[in-house]
């Protein structure tokens, strides 16, 4: 055995390896991305590892492998589960053979997500079990249990850590060697593996009969625990347990009940916890899941217990919890005096804001700026998408009018076209997002005769989530060099009427390309191709000569972090400048030089 100090996501990965997984698939998304990366680093023996093109593909690849008896892991962030929900809903009816665990990482806050959805609700909606780890250490053992339950009940199982568990570091003890499971292989049986209304009807009944059994089984599960005693109880789970425990470690006169398996709800366990209890506080993030389950339980069993939580307004309905928030609500619930708080810094001077911005030298800045200048004075719609380039919304670029979900920019540009045919409709999409869910939108535009300009911001990586490879990069997670799938050829094959590939750092050519595409009818595409500066740092830098007239146009127009003022004069921050040369092409008096771009 050896100890490894790993992130929660690393602990999940090592737990899955200890469970003998044969296949792992997923799509990057904060806070889940490091699971697959860790598996790829630690795997021994034959394990297939892939970044799938999107979450739906990942789910389906894993489903059939699991039909074959292989143990499979699928990873994604919570919004990814929406993409994968079509196969998952049906898979819940069909069931699996080899253990199949789907990690869907929730993001209370939200810290880096579009929604505050709760995967526990999804589990209840799909009628499949869900595990809710409270720490990296617990995640390591719990994911192994999740595989066992999946096989025991022939069902896919959800596993939902939250950001603070995914990104916390702790030590886990792992064995020196792990080996993938032996599996039987697929045994054909169309009555079992082909979903038809009759099968769904029969399995629906089976599932509703089975789930209370799983709830009973979960009532003795080691992850569901009760500490302390008394007539007041706190029900919690996941990271909120850690926050509550931080406060309650000094108070054994209250019951601290941790529910690690929220669905199917372990009713017997909860009933036992509630013996002798008058008041309950449900301390959880996102949806009032435990609170609703307890209210149902109290109702069906006529329990004279007051239950407080989000529904009753005792716990905040949105945002994440913290140890400080736990102390605040628990001291009120328990009638304690106010907890000791930190240094009061309410009288501090105004703190500078540090909003996230596109990096210095980011090619996306140049792409947005070219479109902005080319379309000056013409009514245009700029539909953004998910990735670093969502930051194109910030001043002074101000080039993102909408952002909804992965791939939506392309189809939303069409909606704007149909409601305002005279205006130019642009969609900005990154290369990874294009492969994930952009392609169908382009087909939709061509088929339905929309006029739009597609701008693919191709920086040859999945930058926002930590530079994962994708189908256009020519590398995969098995370490193989593969044929790069050409976005240009895909668009050509679809019938896009005009496709221009330009280097966004060539400002004049880029503006020309935009003007040309915007003036034509039909679906046109501009591929702005230039690598992410984080994966290919140029070694040159720009300099400002004494020709500078201090007009500050460069700063005002593009907002590059490397353009600064020192004693009121424009300067280049040598620690940040990558020599992209965009500013030199904007300067009205040619005062900025460097020898990076012709």
């Amino acid at each position: 055995m050896k100890k490894e100090y790993v992130m929660g996501n690393g602990a999940i990965a090592l737990g899955a390896l200890a469970a003998g997984i044969n296949l792992v698939s997923g799509y990057p998304g904060t806070p889940s991305s490091e699971i697959i990366e860790t598996i790829s680093k630690y795997k021994q023996g034959t394990i297939h590892v892939e970044w799938s093109v999107n979450e739906k593909a990942a789910m389906e690849v894993a489903a059939s492998a699991s039909y074959s008896g292989a143990r499979t892991l699928v990873t994604m962030k919570q919004v990814g589960l929406n993409v994968a929900s079509d196969p998952l809903m049906s898979l819940a009816y069909v069931g699996v053979k080899g253990g199949m665990v789907i990690v869907s990482a929730d993001d209370p806050g939200p810290i880096s997500s579009q929604t505050e959805q709760d995967t526990r609700m999804f589990a209840s909606f799909c009628r499949i079990p869900v595990f809710d780890p409270s720490s990296p250490e617990e995640a390591f053992t719990m994911i192994q249990d999740a595989f066992d339950y999946s096989e025991k009940y022939h069902t896919p199982v959800l596993f939902r850590p939250t950001t603070r568990v995914c990104h916390a570091y702790a030590s886990v003890e792992i064995s020196e060697t792990t080996s993938p499971r032996q599996y039987e292989g697929f045994i054909k049986d169309s009555g079992k593996w082909v979903i038809f209304p009759r099968l769904s009807f029969a399995n629906h009944a089976m599932i509703e009969k089975r789930n209370p059994q799983i709830g009973k089984d979960f009532s003795t599960y080691a992850g569901n625990t009760v500490e302390g005693s008394g007539n007041k109880a706190v029900f919690t789970g996941g990271i909120s347990y850690a926050y509550a425990k931080e406060y309650l470690k000094d108070y054994p006169d209250v019951k601290l009940c941790k529910i690690s398996t929220p669905y199917p709800f372990p009713e017997d366990f909860a009933l036992k916890c509630l013996e002798g209890v008058d008041e309950v506080l449900c301390f959880e993030e996102l949806s009032p899941f435990l609170e609703s389950e307890l209210l149902k339980l109290a109702g069906t069993h006529n329990l004279p217990i007051r239950i407080y939580g989000k529904i009753t307004g005792h716990i905040t309905t949105s945002g994440e919890n913290s140890a400080d928030y736990a102390a605040q609500v628990l001291h009120t619930f328990l009638g304690h005096s106010a907890p000791h708080s930190g240094m009061d810094s309410s009288d501090a001077p105004t703190l500078p804001m540090r909003p996230p911005v596109l990096c210095a030298g980011c090619p996306h800045r140049a792409s947005f700026y070219a479109v902005k200048k080319a379309m000056e004075g013409q009514k245009s719609y700029f539909c953004g998408d998910i990735g670093c380039y969502t930051l194109g919304n910030a001043m002074p670029l101000d080039m993102v009018d909408t952002c909804l979900c992965m791939g939506a920019g392309i189809t939303m540009a069409q909606g704007f076209h149909w409601t305002d045919p005279e205006s130019a409709c642009f969609a900005f999409v990154g290369d990874s997002t294009f492969f994930a869910s952009g392609m169908t939108g382009v087909v939709n535009a061509i088929y339905n005769e929309a006029d739009m300009v597609l701008c693919v911001l191709d920086n040859s990586t999945t930058a926002m989530t930590g530079h994962q490879p994708h189908p256009g990069t020519g590398r995969n997670m098995m370490g193989h060099i593969v044929e790069k799938i050409s976005i240009e050829k895909i668009l050509e094959g679809m019938g896009v009427c005009k496709i221009v590939t330009v280097d966004p750092l060539d400002f004049a050519k880029s503006v020309h390309a935009v003007k040309e595409c915007a003036s034509q009818k039909g679906v046109k595409a501009i591929i702005f191709k230039s690598p992410c500066i984080a994966i290919s740092k140029p070694d040159k830098q720009m300099q400002i000569s004494d020709k500078c007239i201090q007009c500050k146009k460069c700063i005002r127009e593009i907002g590059c972090p490397a353009l600064i003022t020192v004693d009121g004069k424009v300067a280049i921050d040598p620690g940040l400048c990558t020599g992209c040369g965009l500013c030199s092409q904007i300067c009205p008096v040619n005062a900025i030089g460097g020898d990076t771009h012709e």
Binding site: I111, A242, Y243, G342, A348, P352, C359
Partner: protein, 197 residues
């Protein structure tokens, strides 16, 4: 040993290496360690923090308010931003050289860190270190992360000895930078030993 240490600064200053060195040194001395780091979008020029919790009794991965024994701040405003985490008798070790927000050239707020330093001195025990001066001999302020760690250890505030951390630097830093990192660390230790808060 029970200790909560908060490392804070601006993305790109090298706070992660400092926190990894503290965590691994503490573990090598037989302690249970938990930590949490800023990951994602905020890394790009934004405020970043690393929470390091040493001891069995740490449940929350993030340090609760009023619990940090030491605030290792790589930037004056970031020290103030995280002051609520500090214990009443905790100490702030802060770089006195400000990092202007990347948006400063667009919206000039005149931020230069001086108000923050005055405020910190008024509020708490504080050791101020000028990163530029401290790192002048090493050719780059990027060695400040190990230097400030040295200050904290020299001041006896982390419960770790210099030797253990030097070994960790050796183990974790690429060979060609190891010597400079060790020298910067020891320069920090010297300052920590001789500076009173």
């Amino acid at each position: 040993m029970n200790k909560d240490i908060l490392v804070c600064g601006v993305g790109g200053q090298g706070t992660v290496l400092a926190s990894k060195l503290i965590a691994s040194a503490a573990m090598n001395l037989g302690n249970t360690v938990h930590s949490a780091e800023t990951i994602g979008m905020a890394q790009r020029g934004g405020s970043v923090t690393s929470h390091i919790r040493i001891g069995e009794q740490a449940y929350s991965p993030m340090i609760p308010h009023g619990s940090a024994d030491v605030l290792l701040a790589f930037e004056p405003a970031e020290a103030v931003r995280n002051l609520a985490y500090l214990k009443q008798d905790g100490i702030v070790i802060v770089n006195s050289v400000p990092v202007k927000p990347v948006t400063e050239s667009l919206h000039d707020t005149g931020y230069d860190g001086s108000d923050m330093l005055t405020y910190l001195q008024k509020k708490c025990q504080c050791i101020m270190v000028d990163a530029q001066k401290l790192c002048a001999d090493f050719g780059s302020t990027r060695y400040f992360n190990v230097a400030i760690l040295g200050v904290a250890i020299g001041a006896g505030r982390l419960g770790l000895d210099a030797e253990t951390v030097l070994n960790e630097i050796e183990a974790r830093v690429p060979a060609k930078f190891a010597e400079t990192n060790k020298a910067a660390f020891l320069a920090g230790v010297k300052i920590g030993e001789t500076t009173l808060p």
